[in-house]
Assembly symmetry: C2
């Protein structure tokens, strides 16, 4: 199978070139210059939505304005999901990601208790139907939610988690056997939620699976100040030092957030070649802080972007995450020579994502021989006019309806601005029918834990 993408701008070292791109057997086969043509479209490698939780879409817009620990309690009070919801929100996440330049999604997937494999199967089905490249990271833990809040001076006891560590690991291994098909664009990752809710036994079991099946690793890391405190209580050292000691870090490990790391921690990430997934919008919404992204870049740590789940963002628009993730850090360092340029942001979102998933040789740039995960942007859209620097407009503007076409593994899944693989109007109708206007809700768990949280955090 072969196709030609004709007369498009691509970025080259000193500006842009107008080219024809030939795609053959799912790969970029040739890039040939076009002379004297006026291009009106820009071709870029597909971006990675490198951290999200698809089913959070069901609660976007309604979550209270709270910090992570309390927000999470509210989220789980109101998240009795069924597999049909998982299916629809995975479709929605895929569609919004694609329409904002993403061709890959890392879904840190919330599992329905007792239906864990069905949940994973459902997400796999949705992503296969849309055609987006999927990295499904089933979210696992083996401690109960109150354990994620530092105890402070008090002695806290927590309910045991409802499922054993061994049973959880068995579910993941079975998911790998059934669904891990990298050559078909479906990948399973080992993905303990993070140090705040996982035992060392769970981390170690994940490492073992990762080594045995060659799986990427994914986790949240130090999203909040509370987690920084908790790590000291739990390990007597930083979370990064602990994760290094137990062997979780490495060149196929992506770590979401990384807001509360010190300089020694940053050096460890660089040394272990771990990747930071920056989720600027949820970090702001939850008041988690500003991740020290410029420091990561100076230390040589690979950084890419995620939308995070739609309950903490509340969209899955990757271009929005890239814009804010690029400009947010200008207020953290007065030397503008360190600030992220639009071209650097594009590279972080594409090659940075591929690098974190150990696929930099196959994805993330317009290179002959790489897989054809491509996005074509329409540069005649009002939001990208007047004409100046296409990548500057794309990253720093607010592009709206600008994705003309998308290909994953050489297969076209957006044409003329429309998803071709599923019926998006039907999806909208289903989402509408299965929901209702809501206003205020009251979370029982928040009411129970808020006083303790405020005390421990000195509020």
């Amino acid at each position: 199978m072969s196709l030609m993408i004709e007369n498009v701008l691509i970025p080259v070292e000193d500006g842009y070139a107008t080219v024809n791109v030939q795609v053959k057997d799912g790969k970029i086969a040739a890039i040939a210059p076009q002379i004297d043509a006026i291009a009106t479209k820009l071709l870029l490698p597909g971006f990675f939505n490198a951290h999200t939780h698809s089913s959070e879409m069901w609660q976007r817009g309604i979550m209270s304005i709270l910090p992570l620990e309390l927000w999470l309690a509210e989220l789980y009070d109101f998240a009795p999901l069924d597999t049909e919801q998982v299916y629809l929100s995975a479709l929605g996440t895929a569609v919004e990601t694609l329409l904002s330049g993403g061709t890959s999604v890392v879904d840190h997937l919330v599992l329905i208790p007792g239906q864990e494999l069905e949940t994973i199967a459902t997400a796999v089905r949705a992503y296969r139907e849309v055609g987006i490249r999927a990295f499904i990271a089933p979210l696992i833990q083996d401690e109960s939610i109150t354990a994620s809040i530092p105890s402070g001076e008090s002695t806290q006891t927590h309910e045991p988690y409802f499922r054993s560590t061994a049973a959880t690991l068995e579910i993941i291994e079975e998911a790998v056997r059934q669904f891990h098909r990298p050559e078909e664009g479906v990948n399973i990752l080992v993905a303990p939620t993070g140090i705040q809710l996982c035992s060392d036994a769970l981390f170690t079991g994940c490492i073992e699976l990762s080594n045995r099946y060659n799986l990427c690793r994914h986790a949240h890391l130090l999203e909040t100040k509370a987690q920084e405190k908790l790590a000291q209580e739990k390990y007597g050292c930083t979370a990064v030092e602990h994760l290094k000691r137990i062997g979780f870090l490495g060149d196929r490990t992506t770590l979401a957030h990384c807001v509360w790391l010190n300089d020694a921690d940053i050096a460890i990430l660089a040394q272990t070649q771990s990747t930071v997934v920056h989720n600027p919008l949820s970090n702001l919404r939850l008041g988690s802080g500003i991740a020290p992204i410029l420091k990561y870049r100076q230390a040589g740590v690979n950084v890419t972007f995620g939308c995070d789940g739609a309950s903490s963002n509340d969209s899955q628009d990757l271009l929005e995450a890239i814009k804010i993730g690029a400009i947010l850090h200008n207020v953290t360092d007065s030397d503008y020579q360190h600030w992220i340029t639009p071209r650097q942001a594009v590279e972080m979102a594409s090659l940075g994502g591929a690098t974190g998933l150990n696929l930099a040789d196959k994805l993330g740039s317009l290179t002959v021989g790489k897989q054809a995960d491509l996005i074509l942007y329409d540069l005649t859209n009002l939001s990208l006019l007047p004409r100046t620097d296409p990548i500057g407009l794309l990253v720093l503007g607010r592009p709206t309806n600008v994705v003309d076409s998308a290909w994953v593994n050489g297969k076209q899944i957006i044409a003329n601005g429309k998803i071709t693989t599923i019926d998006v109007d039907n999806l909208r109708q289903e989402l509408f029918n299965r929901s209702q206007w809501e206003t205020t809700r009251k979370s029982q768990t928040v009411a129970q834990i808020e006083a303790h949280y405020r005390q421990v955090m000195g509020l």
Copy 2:
């Protein structure tokens, strides 16, 4: 003239009500409950894009990643505007503002030297054609650009400004005579650019015109740390203390940015009932800092939002400015009880804007008797699904193509998602034809002043 907006959700104290809204002679004439209807649209008062510079649209996407003082030097090196450009970018600014929920725009309008009144006339024409409510604030100064950088230890001399203070004030007075027609939706403001480039004589002349003609006042205020230093050099006190002393502050004064104010300055803004216009996106892009918006709110200072000019944002999407302007501050105060809720953000964007322009009795809320500046949002758009809290979705999500209808002064100017007053496809074509793909440019002025800037700022 009368019209009925039927079966729409509006926010009420304890949630939402479904209502019919009657508009008569440009005003909200009645709001009547609708029983048992399933509404799919949300009606809100139009927002205010309370600070922008329309002609900056010509350089969006291309401006280097620099702090304000150097960025401004680059901007002016490449901004030889003509009135046709002013016309097209005013149209573009109006369209993007309307399609993101704004029905009013405050255009701190850059004047073409020697064609000042023609520039203003052109912007007036563009805004009248689109039908947006226009607050044109001709940007004036009487000092040359190098005066905006603190001198530090060195003695700096600056070129005199090309036009006298008196001549500048005469232009503004003439503009008021020719174009200030509040009842027709066109307002002229006095708008010295700020303390960094204006003499006391210019400020005083503006105050005098403001009093004589009942004009609102607008200026930049303490956008950067450099301006904070400059104020101390220039006045021996803070810029706010100085502006208070000369009488520029008051209940019809809107001040863009307000990033570098101390607690005493904040108390002065509250006492004088001045309004802060928060431009979160340009503050991030230019690395200016995070304005202390939560402190303003706690002190009782009125705050509203602006996109700022498209060379420092680089879009005119008001919903984006509202989202980031709401969530950005969660990282500045760990007590989430101070954080801005979506409903508060909507009030800041609507009533907050009206208050700053001394029009809170006429605009900014869904109140019988107020002018009908209204936006109707389509809640069946994918970006606002599934259904939860409509205002939460609108403010915290990334709404795309959600404006179904807009009315200004009761006149409909968007219907079925399309601007009805001008030909937007033609506008796109004009913007395309009058521009070209660019990549790197070199600003001569930046090259000249950069070393001095780095030295003064300790870089």
